[in-house]
């Protein structure tokens, strides 16, 4: 009973938040609603017993991603109302719904035919975090490491792209050169 109440409550909240995110014309609203939606989603993870995932969701999305977006928004003109595309509303709604329905069918089909076999079953006594650790560092070790490298690459890329004058090295330049660079008009 509690589960059902929690599910419907959070489902309503999540849908509402994301709906605002998609429809609002104020970038700030959208950001706030998105952050709220992320936290509500973590609630589902807790209901489903995926504690570790829930924690990660809050930390990564609300902590890191949203902070990044927030910083990013500081660059852009966010006070201005966001222009909407003049598109055919029916096409958008139709396409989205169709896609959604199809995905449901695809996911539901194997459930109906009951042919999913648990490859890595949950062990009853162990806690969720413990299990995740075991599996992550045994079966999924290589994907895990690859993900780590990917994150590193993304970080470097982000710095290089966003940073100013990343093509010159201050440590290798003499003081005159640095001064010359400072006097230059900032490009772009």
């Amino acid at each position: 009973m509690f589960e059902a109440v929690a599910f419907y409550l959070f489902a309503f909240l999540t849908i509402a938040m994301f709906f605002i995110t998609v429809t609002t014309s104020q970038a700030l609203y959208a950001l706030t609603a998105l952050a709220a939606g992320m936290i509500f989603i973590s609630a589902f993870f807790f209901i489903l017993g995926a504690d570790f995932l829930g924690v990660i969701q809050i930390i990564v999305y609300t902590g890191a991603v949203m902070a990044l977006y927030a910083f990013g928004m500081m660059f852009f003109d966010t006070t201005r109302k966001v222009k909407e595309k003049r598109g055919n509303r029916y096409i958008i709604v139709g396409l989205s719904t169709l896609t959604a329905v199809l995905i449901v069918v695809i996911f539901a089909a194997p459930m109906v035919s009951k042919n999913i076999v648990a490859l890595y079953p949950v062990i009853e006594d162990a806690g969720n975090i413990q299990l995740v650790g075991v599996i992550l560092f045994t079966k999924y070790l290589i994907p895990f490491e690859v993900a780590a490298i990917m994150l590193l690459v993304a970080m470097v890329a982000g710095i290089v792209l966003a940073g100013k004058k990343m093509d010159i090295s201050l440590t290798l330049m003499s003081s005159e050169e640095i001064k010359k660079e400072e006097n230059k008009k900032v490009l772009s």
Partner: protein, 642 residues
């Protein structure tokens, strides 16, 4: 023995290959000499084979060089057989080709394409040897097509002349039409007997029902009709005279055109079983003999007259073969090859002397400058007319006797009448060329005799045309068993003598009449004003019974129009249009969908989603079909049952 066989077969091929090396280079006499030597080698080998066969009696040489096709039940080897029939043909082919090769060294002396000529000519000899020596129908067909090809190349040898290429194509196409019949015949043989080897097929023929055999016989004979230019496929032979004269002598008189006769003789065991078809062949042969002779009466082209006489003589051969007198047909083939080649080569000399003038009315009195040619052509004509004791007398009279003895008096009568016509037109030609006034002087031509070595090369043919008759008895004894031959005897000696003497007198009178009419001093170059030239019969004959005209008007033109329609309507409007349409659709699609590639990212995004939806739908559809495939099968089978 086998070595001799291979030498006889492949020496012409080597000769052809060797000459082909020099086709693009200027004239080199040694090419002709070496080609002639190689063909002579082939002749010597054949002579040795003949000698060994004659001396050793009934023996035949049979070799299987290699397997050509072996798939399932089909087994066709490259097998060659030298028996008494094929060795006779080989002798004719190699002897005449040797002479023609040597003669051509002189005849083609001034031609740019001297080397190419020998390449083609030797290739022809090789093809002819394959045709003659093969021990199965497939090999025969290869040779058959090979001679057709070489004939095409040689008729169209002077391809810069429009008429020559036209004649070459005509010959080739007519032969292809007939070859279709031949192919069907060969297929029928294989279908019904399961083999293409002569021996095996002939064994099985005895057990087949007459209807099947009749069809096989008819279709094979259609092939023979094309190659031997029998009515109604005869028009190519006269047009084939566009080729160089040695070619006419070798291919269109002595060897290739007799391939049809050879086919019938070779398949004698088949035709013996179907006398009805044989009778048809004999009737057609007699008809063609008369038909061709009548056209030769009025023609004004020296080579065409000889070509028609060839046609006429082929008719004689078919008449004999159709009546079951295969050995007589073969003997006439041999004798005819000698005197007809001689006649053609003589005509070549005349042409050379007259600077390629072909109208005998513009010659006259040439015997003074071309004594030897005159003698040779006169003797060849006497042999052709069948005057005792020349070769033609023995072979032709035997055909007449055979027709008489078989009680086919209509055929006999036609052939006898034709003999008179033959004598008349042959000596009309001789009289016009060599006797009477020297009309050529008007045209400012100074004729000269051919090279001495050409005349020497022709001399064996001259001798054979004179004495080949004495070979009749030995030939009969040699061939008797293999062709199940028997001599034709008229029951009463009186009848026989009356026939012989009567024929001779008839022929002699025809000759005298020809001399009287054409050897006098009043012959003028016809200008189309005299009464006889305007008579209906003359025009009818001169225009070859309007058959070429008929073909042109009622076959070629409608075909051309039909082709035009197919080109304009079917090809352009349907085939081309559909191909263009496919290209157009692709092009148009590209043109239309170009708008998608506006570079606008949001539009791209939308298309991406559309694609995503399509892929998902496909996944669902395939998933469902895979899941419910059994039910779907059941549903469809239910639908089918309804």
């Amino acid at each position: 023995m086998e070595t001799l066989l291979y030498i006889a077969l492949f020496a012409p091929l080597v000769s052809s290959m060797f000459s082909a090396l020099f086709t693009t280079t200027p004239k080199k006499t040694f090419v002709g000499v070496i080609a002639s030597l190689l063909i002579f080698t082939s002749f010597v080998s054949t002579s040795l084979l003949l000698a060994s066969i004659v001396i050793n009696g009934n023996e035949s040489v049979h070799v299987e060089m290699m397997t050509w096709m072996a798939t399932g039940n089909l087994y066709i080897p490259f097998g060659f057989i030298v028996d008494k029939v094929s060795v006779t043909m080989m002798m004719v082919v190699t002897l005449v080709s040797t002479i023609v090769h040597i003669y051509s060294i002189g005849y083609m002396d001034h031609d740019k394409s001297f080397n190419r000529f020998f390449a083609w000519l030797s290739a022809f000899v090789f093809s002819m040897m394959v045709l003659v020596m093969s021990d199965n129908y497939a090999g025969l067909f290869i040779g058959w097509e090979g001679v057709g090809l070489c004939s095409w190349g040689l008729i169209g040898f002077w391809f810069h002349k429009e008429s020559a290429t036209w004649a070459a194509n005509e010959a080739f196409i007519m032969n292809r039409i007939a070859d279709l019949g031949m192919l069907i015949g060969i297929f029928l043989v294989y279908w019904n007997t399961g083999t293409l080897q002569y021996e095996g097929a002939f064994e099985v023929f005895k057990t087949l029902d007459p209807a099947t055999l009749t069809w096989i016989g008819i279709f094979l004979f259609i092939g023979a009709m094309g190659k031997s230019a029998q009515f109604p496929l005869h028009t190519w032979l006269a047009d084939a005279m566009e080729g160089p004269t040695p070619v006419s002598a070798l291919i269109h008189a002595a060897t290739m055109v007799t391939a049809g006769v050879y086919l019938v003789i070779r398949s004698n065991e088949l035709y013996s079983l179907i006398p009805n078809v044989g009778l048809f062949i004999a009737s057609l042969g007699a008809f063609v003999a008369l038909f061709a002779a009548s056209m030769a009466l009025v023609n004004r082209d020296m080579k065409r007259i000889i070509a028609y006489s060839t046609l006429s003589q082929l008719g004689y051969m078919f008449a004999a073969a159709g009546l079951g007198a295969y050995w007589v047909a073969l003997f006439h083939l041999v004798a005819h090859a000698f005197f007809k080649a001689l006649l053609f080569l003589g005509a070549g000399n005349v042409m050379h002397a007259m600077h390629d003038e072909l109208d005998p009315f513009k010659m006259g009195g040439l015997k003074k400058v071309m004594k030897w040619t005159w003698i040779m052509m006169t003797i060849a004509s006497l042999a052709l007319a069948g005057i005792f004791p020349f070769a033609g007398f023995f072979s032709k009279d035997t055909i007449l006797e055979a027709a008489f003895a078989e009680h086919h008096f209509v055929i006999y009568g036609v052939l006898l009448f034709t003999a008179g016509l033959t004598a008349f037109y042959s000596f009309r030609l001789v009289a016009l060329i060599f006797h009477g006034e020297e009309r050529y002087k008007i045209f400012g031509i100074s004729p000269h005799e051919a090279y001495r070595f050409m005349l020497v090369a022709m001399s064996p043919l001259l001798i054979l045309a004179m004495i080949a008759g004495v070979l009749q008895e030995p030939f009969f004894h040699m061939i008797e068993e293999i062709l199940s031959a028997h001599e034709y005897h008229i029951h009463s000696h009186t009848t026989l003598w009356i026939m012989l003497v009567g024929t001779q007198v008839f022929v002699a009178l025809a000759i005298l009449y020809a001399y009287k009419k054409y050897a006098n001093a009043f012959i003028k170059v016809p200008d189309g004003t005299s009464a006889i030239e305007n008579s209906f019969v003359y025009k009818f004959l001169y225009n070859q019974y309007y058959i070429p005209y008929f073909y042109e008007e009622y076959l070629v033109k409608p075909y051309r129009e039909l082709s035009d329609i197919f080109w304009n309507k079917v090809d352009m409007k349907i085939l081309d249009a559909s191909v263009d349409g496919i290209a157009g659709i692709i092009y148009g699609t590209g043109e239309k969908t170009r708008a998608m590639q506006s570079g606008n990212l949001s539009v791209m995004l939308r298309w991406m989603v559309v694609g995503f939806v399509v892929l998902l739908s496909l996944a669902v559809v395939f998933g469902l079909t895979a899941r419910y495939s059994e039910n779907i099968t059941v549903i469809f089978s239910g639908l089918g049952a309804m």
